[in-house]
């Protein structure tokens, strides 16, 4: 077989020129700063807002962002979605690298592999066309922190230790950096262990405990004035991770992620920024039902994903008012998952749930930015992707003869994306941005090849098909922001139509495989889905060391028969007031969501009541010689509210009153 490959360089627009060209809406810009840690006062407030406490996980941080929806199945491993888009429509990348989970039940989103300690920034792209990979819903890119050369102190580090009461949770983390003139190394490790947590109201949620270990090593070497070479390695092991909303837990999960990059940064030159990266990662996942009572039949469900890839990015100055960003990428992902069921006295029952398959992707993207005058700018973004998916083993092809005549035929798609953004300063303080986009995506491996994948959300077995039409979206965005040195107000609204919307369609004549499943659904193109929503943020730097941050979001989704789409969050607000007095910082948080009555009955979705939750946090910071100490403490969910968010699976309540303490020192 021959696969046509398109190779070139393309662009990553959310990078260097974001603020300059002003083509992004403010909310995205805020997010980008969140963890990129840019040191302006205002952005630091927002960072503190998202990183509510030092023990927060990357998914805790994401959960506070207005455009992010977390699909929660357990205390850990929640899946990040953007706006109204589902998981097949959103790409999650680590430092531009593709990584595919090894779990057929989506227990292992890529966000679990990057600890906040190791996070330089989170780039969230919601409007316009995706640059780093074709998708209709947007991209979450977790940028890894880099070691810094030429630091004043050659050796520096930090230690943190914490405890939380609701889950008897321990958190330990350490970080150590070496910095020389031409090279630097950064290492970090985090260990988290939580017991079954106590939900609001007092009930203990069985199988919600987890234990995991994460470590990272990063080294940078200065090749010359403008070129650096960097190597990154991430190690993540989960020993037991409970999923109370699912019939199984993670028995063991492991990820190894490695990359080597060369990067150029030379301001004012024609090729201002360049990066070339080679990477590989592998994820192993083993589900476990031995801790569950009354299991009709025990089963092993291992899965593995392996991805290798490479990409190049370059930012070009074409003149004072024109920029071009290019990106080209190629990757290949191998995926496999199986299930073996054990019944005493019976032979083992074995099947592939993701028949061994390989997806080869190659894409090019370009973003052209032009500023016709000092007030406005236009950003045009294009991306083309060539995808091929095929089954790689005879066993896999054999098994899919159950569903199709020619499982040896590969699935090939050419995906096209285009967006145009126009931004204009209406006055010195008000900026408006409008974006229109067309985007396409590849079906997921589950949508193509899934074989009786049990979905605990609606209790159906899901089956894939390779003749799905390409899902595409027409998207429109508007945003308005007002900023002064003390106040930032931003509003963003979006609407989109997703055609050939892929969903499971009930097949009444097909029998289930999973014991207790209600039926079989097969992925199908469902006409279209309409989506809309809005986000708002308000940041105020009040006098006397007080800061106020508040974010709002509202999402709406319906299919072509006006039936609500599943997993659409209702109106939500998170607000925070923080006051700094000397060495003390005090913060009050309020989180609330309205009830969600718009549910998808076919997906057996249930209505979710409203909730209100309040947190209080106190921190004390001091220095002893060259060591900085922070002691943090607080109480989350003060009123012990028994609540769940609409996108939480299995009607499992979230943790109740949680008292935490945390000691950090850095030297």
């Amino acid at each position: 077989m021959r696969v046509r490959i398109i190779l070139a360089l393309a662009a990553l627009p959310l990078f260097a020129y974001g603020q300059e060209s002003g083509h992004k809406d403010t909310v995205v810009e805020m997010n980008e700063v969140v963890v990129r840690g840019m040191l302006s006062d205002q952005t630091r407030q927002i960072k503190d807002f998202y990183v509510a406490n030092k023990a927060a996980t990357t998914e805790d941080i994401l959960a506070r962002m207005p455009e992010v929806t977390m699909v929660r199945r357990g205390s850990y491993g929640s899946e990040p979605l953007l706006r109204t888009y589902n998981s097949g429509q959103v790409s999650v990348l680590i430092d531009g690298m593709r990584i595919h989970g090894a779990c057929t039940d989506k227990m292992d989103p890529a966000t679990v592999y990057v600890e906040p300690q190791n996070l330089k920034g989170i780039n969230i792209q919601t409007s316009g066309a995706a640059q780093v990979g074709s998708n209709v819903g947007g991209t979450v890119d977790l940028r890894l922190r880099e070691p810094v050369c030429g630091c004043e102190r050659p050796v520096s580090g930090a230690l943190s230790s914490g405890y939380q009461s609701a889950a008897g949770y321990f958190y330990e983390s350490g970080q150590l950096s070496f910095s020389k003139e031409r090279w630097a190394i950064r290492t970090n490790a985090t260990y988290r262990k939580a017991g079954d947590y106590r939900a609001g109201g007092g009930a203990v949620v069985a199988n919600s405990r987890y234990e995991k270990m994460n470590a990272g090593l990063s080294a940078i070497y200065k090749l010359n004035e403008s070129w650096n070479m960097k190597a990154d390695f991430l190690y993540d092991d989960g020993y037991f991770i409970g999923y109370p909303a699912l019939p199984m837990d993670v028995g063991y999960a492991a990820a190894r992620i490695a990359s080597l990059s060369v990067m150029k940064w030379k301001p004012e030159s024609r090729w201002e920024r360049m990066q070339y990266k080679v990477y590989g990662n592998t994820v192993y996942h083993l589900m476990d039902d031995t801790h569950r009572p009354n299991v009709a039949m025990h089963m092993d469900m291992p899965g593995r994903s392996t991805t290798v890839g490479t990409f190049g990015e370059a930012a070009l100055r074409l003149g004072a008012r024109r920029h071009l960003m290019l990106r080209g990428d190629v990757s290949a992902t191998d995926l496999y998952a199986s299930m073996t069921m054990y019944q005493p006295g019976q032979p083992d029952m074995y099947m592939l749930t993701w028949p061994d398959n390989r997806t080869i992707q190659s894409g090019i993207a370009a973003t052209y930015t032009v500023r016709p005058d000092t007030q406005s700018s236009v950003v045009i973004t294009t991306r083309i992707d060539q995808f091929t998916s095929l089954l790689t083993t005879q066993d896999a092809r054999d098994q899919l003869t159950v569903l199709q005549e020619h499982p040896e035929t590969s699935v090939n798609r050419l995906l096209k994306n285009l967006s145009v953004a126009y931004s204009r300063d209406l006055s010195g303080r008000v900026r408006a941005v409008a974006t229109a986009a067309y985007a396409e995506r590849m079906p997921t491996q589950s949508e193509l090849y899934g074989f009786y994948l049990f979905n605990a959300f609606d209790n159906y077995d899901y089956i894939g098909r390779t003749d799905l039409k390409t899902e595409n979206a027409y998207k429109g965005d508007m945003s308005l922001s007002y900023s002064t040195s003390d106040v930032l107000v931003s509003l963003a609204a979006f609407a989109s139509r997703v055609n050939n919307y892929i969903m499971g369609l009930y097949e009444p004549t097909w029998g289930t495989m999973t014991i207790g499943a209600l039926g079989v659904k097969r992925y199908a193109n469902m006409g279209y889905g309409n989506m809309a929503g809005a986000e708002a943020a308000f940041v105020w730097k009040a006098p006397r060391g007080t800061q106020v941050v508040s974010t709002f979001r509202y999402n709406y989704g319906a299919d072509d028969k006006r039936t609500p789409l599943p997993l659409i969050n209702p109106f939500r607000n998170i607000s925070s007031v923080r006051k700094k007095t000397g060495r003390w910082t005090t913060q009050l948080d309020a989180e609330m969501a309205l009830r969600q009555d718009r549910v998808n009955v076919a997906a057996r979705e249930v209505k979710t009541p409203d909730f209100f939750k309040a947190n209080v946090r106190v921190a004390y910071a001091t220095m002893y010689r060259l060591t900085a100490f922070t002691i943090e403490g607080g109480c989350e969910n003060i009123f012990d509210a028994a609540y769940r968010e609409h996108t939480d699976w299995g009607r499992v309540y979230r943790p109740g009153r949680n008292i935490y303490v945390q000691v950090n020192c850095s030297f």
């Binding site: 592998t282 039949m297 290798v308 019944q343 032979p347 083992d348 029952m349 054999d398 098994q399 159950v402």
Partner: protein
Amino acid sequence: MKNFNKITKTLTFALLATSIFGCKKSDNNVTTNPDPTIGYVKIASGYADGAATKVDVYAKDSAFTGYNKLYIALTDSVTNKYVENAEISLMPDMNMTTMSHSAPFENPASSQAQNMLFPCSATFIMSSMGGTWSLGVSVKNLANSKSGKAMLSLKVKDPAAARMFSFVSPLDSAKYFVGLVPGEKTIVGANDLELVVYRKVSMMSYPADSSLTISFEPTMPSMGHGSPNNVNPVHTANGHYKGKVNYTMTGTWKLAFVLSKGATVVDSTHYIDFTF
């Protein structure tokens, strides 16, 4: 060590991923085996006296109640070479002290051996527990035109799970035998489902029957599920009915059959368990 393994795997995969762009994997065909009986077991052996020929009967497995695919090897007892041109006819016989009966069979379709062997079949309708089986093999060696008959004794066992069943049709009161023709290899996926149907006319005559309509449903009793997209077997030739059975996983499957003649269901009580 485990990690090292993973790394090598990753590297190999990287190489594979690059190689897939350019090259096509060549199929290496199986070369002809010098000994044609490798992979078979000898289930009976004897001499066809008048034909000066040694008769060896091979099968994939020892003989069992049900449809047995047999492979007859003829050896010239003088030259010790395989005889590749011969007319062969079978006559299975079971001696049960008070009476004897035959069984359904299929003679080799051609007088020309395929890779030294003559494929044929016998459907043993009971095990050796009830009497003594022998297989009569009449041979006419076409090379020297000599004829003779061998009477070979053999043991027939009941398999762990039945591979055939019989029923009496309410329409004609005749007894029908339905056997499962074993496939080459069973996969998780779509498999050929081949059945053979014989009607008992007398103790010695069991002609192939093409008059039935067969439907079936595979289920996995230990889990209580079935499989989609199965194809009911339809008659092709010589009492053989071919369809498709889909196994969605390994393990024990139960194939429940409904046999009809015209609009009348003649049997719906039988099933065959299949484990792989």
